[in-house]
């Protein structure tokens, strides 16, 4: 099966995916278009977290905090000053990035699992703060209501179909952007750090700075997703930004394939679209999901669609190496 899939040139994949993306909404109803819309929003979140977890290898289990900062920035400014939603995209990105900058700085030196715990802590503090509403801005447990709709060239984006194109345009932009980052000196530096931070430092890479950059950019993209989510829902509350949201995003990255953009899309599909298809068993779906997480880690730890790098590693291990006179001697 794998062999036949590989025989198809990558370009053909892109064309097919592009066509499907355009045709899809016209073949289905509003319900399924909305499923695709949420797929898109979570794909953005997965892609943004992938920069932090996948590229830089920093275990962030509090990503919902950045998503929340972006969503609330848009919601509050839009409802109080009536600034158009799409103008708030860069602002949401900026506030989320700034917030990430502040909280990430003191914790970057922490080792993997400790970082995990601290990010959980930050995520929860953000949620509790939103509930407690200390400055009277967040609307407490009820959240912010009456968030405006985005408008583009005079068209107010309200129907699922309109949102579909807006959301997927953003997804494609983010895919393109993260792909370019991945293939740049910045992306490589993140990978070096994930592989061996000390060796990376010895090569002259400012490890702390690059880790911070990963957090800031990942958070900025989560902030963008937050902006779109807020305008899509028109109402946001702290319930949308719980620890389990962070777990879902983390799982998307890990199940799809750490550091792999196609993997993130597949992971998101697995998390959102498959459960929709089996809605009849919805009560048991989280149960199955929990079991699937364990099974994945045991039987396919590299994820459903691992990055090329990891895939190569797996192939080499099973087939052996025909390389120029080099054999494994150690």
């Amino acid at each position: 099966m794998d062999r036949y899939l590989k025989a198809i040139p990558p370009r053909a994949w892109y064309v097919a995916a592009g066509l499907l993306l355009v045709v899809y909404p016209f073949l289905t109803n509003d319900y399924w278009i909305d499923v695709a819309n949420f797929f898109g929003i979570y794909a953005m979140l997965g892609l943004s977290l992938n920069i932090i977890v996948g590229y830089a290898g920093l275990f962030n289990l509090g990503h919902a905090a950045f998503y929340a900062v972006g969503a609330y920035t848009t919601a509050i400014i839009n409802t109080t000053f009536h600034v158009p939603i799409l103008w708030l995209v860069p602002l949401s990105a900026l506030t989320a990035a700034g917030f990430a900058y502040l909280i990430a700085r003191p914790i970057l030196h922490l080792r993997g699992d400790y970082l995990c715990i601290v990010t959980i802590g930050f995520g929860e503090i953000v949620r509790i703060t939103l509930v407690n509403n200390p400055l009277g801005l967040t609307g407490g447990p009820n959240g912010v209501l009456g968030i405006g709709r985005p408008s583009l060239f005079g068209l107010i984006i309200k129907q699922p179909l309109h949102f579909y194109f807006l959301i997927w345009a953003f997804v494609l932009l983010i895919v393109l952007g993260t792909k370019r980052l991945e293939e740049s000196r910045i992306g490589r530096a993140w990978n070096y750090i994930r592989e061996d931070a000390l060796a990376a430092a010895a090569m002259g890479i400012d490890v702390a700075r690059m880790k911070l950059l990963a957090f800031v950019i990942g958070a900025a993209l989560a902030g963008v997703a937050g902006n779109i989510y807020a305008s899509k829902m028109a109402v946001i509350s702290p319930d949308s930004f719980t620890f389990w949201e962070s777990v879902v995003m983390f799982s998307i990255v890990v199940l799809g394939g750490v550091g792999s953009i196609p993997g993130i899309l597949v992971g998101t599909f697995g998390m959102f679209v498959l459960p929709e298809l089996f809605r009849g068993f919805s009560s048991a779906r989280m149960l199955v999901f929990g079991a699937a997480m364990i099974a994945m880690m045991i039987f396919r730890p590299q994820g459903l669609l691992p990055s090329q790098r990891w895939r190569r590693a797996m192939v080499d291990e099973t087939v052996g190496l025909p390389a120029a006179g080099l054999s494994k001697t150690s």
Binding site: F59, P106, I107, L110, G112, D113, Y114, C116, I117, V118, I120, G121, F122, E124, I125, I128, T129, V131, N132, L198, F243, V247, F250, S251, V254, L255, V258, S283, A284, M286, L287, F289, G290, A291, A292, M293, I294, M296, M297, I298, P301
Partner: protein, 302 residues
């Protein structure tokens, strides 16, 4: 002053529950360097099992439960959860012992989600209520501070269990084996210790203690729901970090300190921020002194 003392007493009660649960985190971390995210669920399952036992036995319906009955509730819950702990270790952690650090974290989260939803499916999403008459409503006043029987039970049982664990680890041969495994698996193996057995043992002791805490929380607050595993779990974990993760007396101390701080915070600052206190504390410790109060700083070899 009276109010302050009352808060301290209340804090110590909650804190001893945190301590019991924290022991499970700290022991597993000590042996496997693994954060057992599913440990909070052990506590939760323990609480639900106690509820079922109580209702099957028809305890607390007309009169309060007999001492023997209550002991039976503890015994059933602790044994079953210990079995569950061993099972989780076998299924979700043991196959990953040599995997990357990411894999066990995800697997542990998976186990946590699985257990939470299993309980939700079995018992439903609503709060479940323990019979009010289960524990006699006796209380005393000491210097203006009100102390209920259940608070005394929680404190005494917790301290007894902790003392037993401490003796086991420090004074027995089995305890020496546990300590050896915590230092170095390979060396322990060379000394003839069956490391897998010790790991299983840790996954018996930790969940059993967590279950005991779950039973007491159910009896004390009367109502439980399926998210208490997460809410108590994260606090207990904070307690373990506070005391120095991997350190058994540290977990006990950390739990008591956290319980008192939290109760005082809720009383003097605002109950809404109570939940945030443990997180603030957690972050603060990890930034300022990641080794906790009793933990030792270990130089990293380059």
């Amino acid at each position: 002053m009276q109010e302050f003392l009352q808060q301290v007493v209340n804090g110590l009660t909650v804190g001893s529950v945190y301590s019991l649960v924290a022991l499970g985190y700290t022991m597993v971390y000590g042996i496997l360097r693994l954060i057992n995210f599913a440990h909070g669920e052990m506590f939760m399952v323990g609480s639900y099992l106690a509820l079922s036992t109580v209702s099957v036995l028809g305890m607390g319906q007309v009169a309060s439960g007999s001492l023997g009955g209550i002991l039976l509730v503890f015994l059933i819950s602790m044994t079953a959860v210990a079995g569950l702990g061993v099972l989780v270790e076998r299924v979700a952690y043991r196959p990953l012992r040599r995997a990357s650090r990411l894999a066990p974290i995800v697997s542990a989260l998976g186990a946590s989600i699985f257990l939470q939803n299993a309980i939700m499916l079995i018992y439903g999403t609503r709060f479940k209520v323990f019979p009010e008459k289960l524990i006699p409503q006796i209380s005393w006043e000491v210097g203006g501070v009100k102390i209920t029987l259940m608070r005394v039970v929680i404190l005494v049982v917790s301290l007894l269990l902790m003392a037993a664990l401490y003796t086991l680890v420090q004074k027995t041969q089995l305890g020496a084996a546990i300590r050896a495994c915590a230092l170095d698996h390979d060396t322990a193996r060379l000394m003839g210790i069956d490391v897998d057995r010790i790991v299983s043992l840790v996954f018996i002791i930790g969940p059993a203690l967590g279950a005991a805490a779950g039973v007491m929380v159910g009896m004390f607050y009367y109502q439980i729901n399926f998210v208490i595993g997460w809410t108590y779990g994260i606090r207990a974990f904070t307690a373990a970090i506070l005391g120095g993760i991997g350190n058994i007396p540290g977990a006990m101390l950390g739990g008591l300190i956290l319980g008192v701080l939290e109760t005082l915070g809720a009383g003097y600052i605002s109950p809404g921020w109570k939940d945030a206190i443990s997180f603030f504390l957690l972050i603060l410790i990890l930034i300022v002194r990641p080794t906790g109060i009793l933990g030792e700083r270990v130089a990293e070899k380059v």
